[in-house]
């Protein structure tokens, strides 16, 4: 085997320039592909993290029917069974965020607008998404307070300012009519219009009273200690709860559209990387074809001397794989520090673009993910291409007519 490896390696350097150019094309394709995928993954991670923080959390306990029919009829009791189950999971859960949410009509004077009324625990919401940092007027309530915080867009539509009274009319638990008046103690500014024109926040207890829901919730967000334990924690929790009443759903189940969008993005990025590789593949193929034709006579002589076709074919395969390995190794050497650098010191957006991105609760940067699997996957892709081209070289050598080749 060492003879075959020696032959393959030295053959590669018979034309240094050609080998370097071909390996460089593999290197650049590998580098571009890993950078592109690292950026795409980084962006997805940032977007997911933002959506998880702003919307669903990593997982939620809900009423078993709530996802299909999100109404006050399908809220669940935050009682001993649930608290005990969470307690048993213990240190795998970092913290929980209780919420009760439902649509109502918000009114002042003769103006009425639809609103999403959210009963929240302000401390836990701050821990999850730093909600109170968006307050632009007044202040966020504490657990014992009884006033409302209203989103700026809705406040503008209703012409409400802090100190004014907000009237809420809606449907509570078991079709009870919910009506209440709350003093507005704070105005919160969401730059996402959908949130800004709809949101009303109440202390959790006040909202439960308003909806006549007792200690019931629409969702209990569970934030695990470690992200990678989401599925494990969800499974364990579900096992401990009566599935007739409770459903534990991960963020992927709660935002299936987002998961689909990410999968679609993944597919697009993979397609782009494969375009790189196909172009590079043709480059390698061209080099190998030239190398084969240049050495036909030599192949004929080696076969004449008694070298078996299989051994000579392995030399052809190994040469092709070496080209890939040189490109991949260079790609690893340059790519890992590059991705790590952009992960630690990401390029920042500035001006309007930065503000726009921050509106979505995201940091205004080009985020890069560092995942060894990205490098391994790309390495495997290049390896696969070189092996396929290597098979062509093997086939060519197998079909070489020994005497014809020797006479060339």
């Amino acid at each position: 085997m060492s003879l075959l490896l020696t032959l393959a390696w030295r053959n590669l350097w018979r034309n240094k320039r050609r080998t370097l150019i071909t390996s460089s094309s593999v290197f650049f394709a590998f580098l571009l592909a890993t950078a592109l995928i690292s950026f795409a993954k980084g962006f997805q991670q940032q977007l997911t993290e933002s959506l998880i923080r702003q919307e669903t959390g990593y997982m939620q306990v809900q009423d078993a029917m709530y996802l299909e029919e999100p109404s006050m009829d399908h809220i669940f009791e935050y009682g001993e069974e649930l608290k005990k189950a969470i307690g048993e999971i213990g240190s795998d859960i970092d913290y929980t965020v209780p919420r009760i949410s439902g649509f109502s009509l918000a009114a002042r004077d003769i103006t009425t607008k639809p609103a999403m009324v959210n009963g929240i625990d302000p401390e836990m919401e701050d821990r999850l998404r730093n909600l109170s940092s968006n307050i632009t007027e007044g202040e966020m309530f504490s657990a014992g307070d009884d006033y409302a915080v209203i989103a700026k867009g809705l406040a503008d539509m209703l012409h409400i300012r802090t100190g004014d009274t907000l009237i809420l009319i809606g449907q509570g638990f078991q079709a009870i009519t919910a009506t209440a008046m709350f003093r507005v103690g704070g105005i919160i500014d969401f730059t996402i219009p959908e949130l800004n024109n709809r949101m009303v926040f109440l202390p959790l207890g006040e909202a439960q009273n308003y909806f006549a829901a007792g200690n019931r919730l629409t969702s209990l967000i569970i934030m695990p200690e470690h992200d990678e334990k989401i599925c494990k924690v969800a499974e364990r929790l579900q096992e401990m709860l009566d599935s007739e009443w409770y459903a534990v759903r991960t963020w992927g189940e709660l935002m299936p559209d987002m998961v689909e969008l990410m999968q679609m993005q993944d597919t697009v990025y993979r397609l782009i990387t494969w375009v790189f590789y196909v172009i590079v593949g043709f480059g390698i193929f061209g080099t190998i074809v030239t190398m084969l034709y240049e050495r036909m006579r030599e192949f004929g002589i080696m076969l004449s001397l008694g070298m078996k076709r299989s051994r000579l074919a392995i030399v052809g395969l190994v040469e092709t794989i070496f080209i890939g390995i040189i490109g991949i190794t260079a790609g690893f050497v340059a790519g890992i520090p590059l991705v790590l650098f952009f992960r630690m010191f990401p390029v920042r957006f500035t001006g309007g673009s930065a503000e726009y991105i921050m509106n979505f609760g995201m940091e205004p940067v080009f985020p890069f993910a560092f995942d060894p699997m990205i490098f391994l996957e790309q390495a495997m892709a290049v390896f696969l291409i070189t092996v396929l081209i290597g098979f062509y070289a093997m086939r060519k050598i197998y079909r070489t007519d020994m005497l014809d080749a020797s006479r060339q």
């Binding site: 003879l3 020696t6 030295r10 006579r297 030599e298 004449s304 001397l305 078996k308 051994r311 005497l403």
Partner: protein, 231 residues
Amino acid sequence: MKTVIKTNGLSKTYTNTAVPVKALKNINLEFREGEFTAIVGPSGSGKTTFLNVIGGLDKPTEGSVAIDDVDISSMKESQLFDFRLNHIGFVFQAYNLIPVLTAMENTSFIMLLQKRPKKEMEERAREMLEQVGLSDKMNVRPSQLSGGQQQRVAVARALASKPDFVLADEPTANLDTESAFNLLDIMARLNKEENITLIFSTHDQRVIERARRVITLVDGEVSKDEQFERD
């Protein structure tokens, strides 16, 4: 002396040409151990075809070739690879060394394919390179050697594995007079010392004058088979 090669009614016709070409016609020859034979004849007389057929590189259309009483004309390709590797040495007109290997590695090449023990292989390769006067060029690649030196490495390669016989297809054709004489001296000496059967195809009078047996082919047929006493 035992018979190394025996051909019986050997014929070869090329049919992949516009008109079928009869390159060899009913050749019956025997080559004995230790012979130094020159196959001579004009271009197109069938010298190279004869060497290819007795070397297992090409198959006869009719007749047979027996080497050490083993009929190689009916062997499969994979068997022929092994047979050539273990029984026959080749020296080509254009040297045909492997350019990426050093003189030492080229000399060891056949033994490497035979998977001989490393120590034995190195000792034999070194010995052969000393025999051909290239002990100072062991680690040099073919591109840094003259034509004569390359052909001497090719001879060392062919003889290093101690084959039953060596076929040399016009080995001096590309060499100047001094290199050709030098090579012939080496081959004659090795023929005697190693008792290896040498069969040359050649136009070269210098080779013919050194051969103890000269077979003349004309139009694919043996026209003369002469023996000479040489020192």
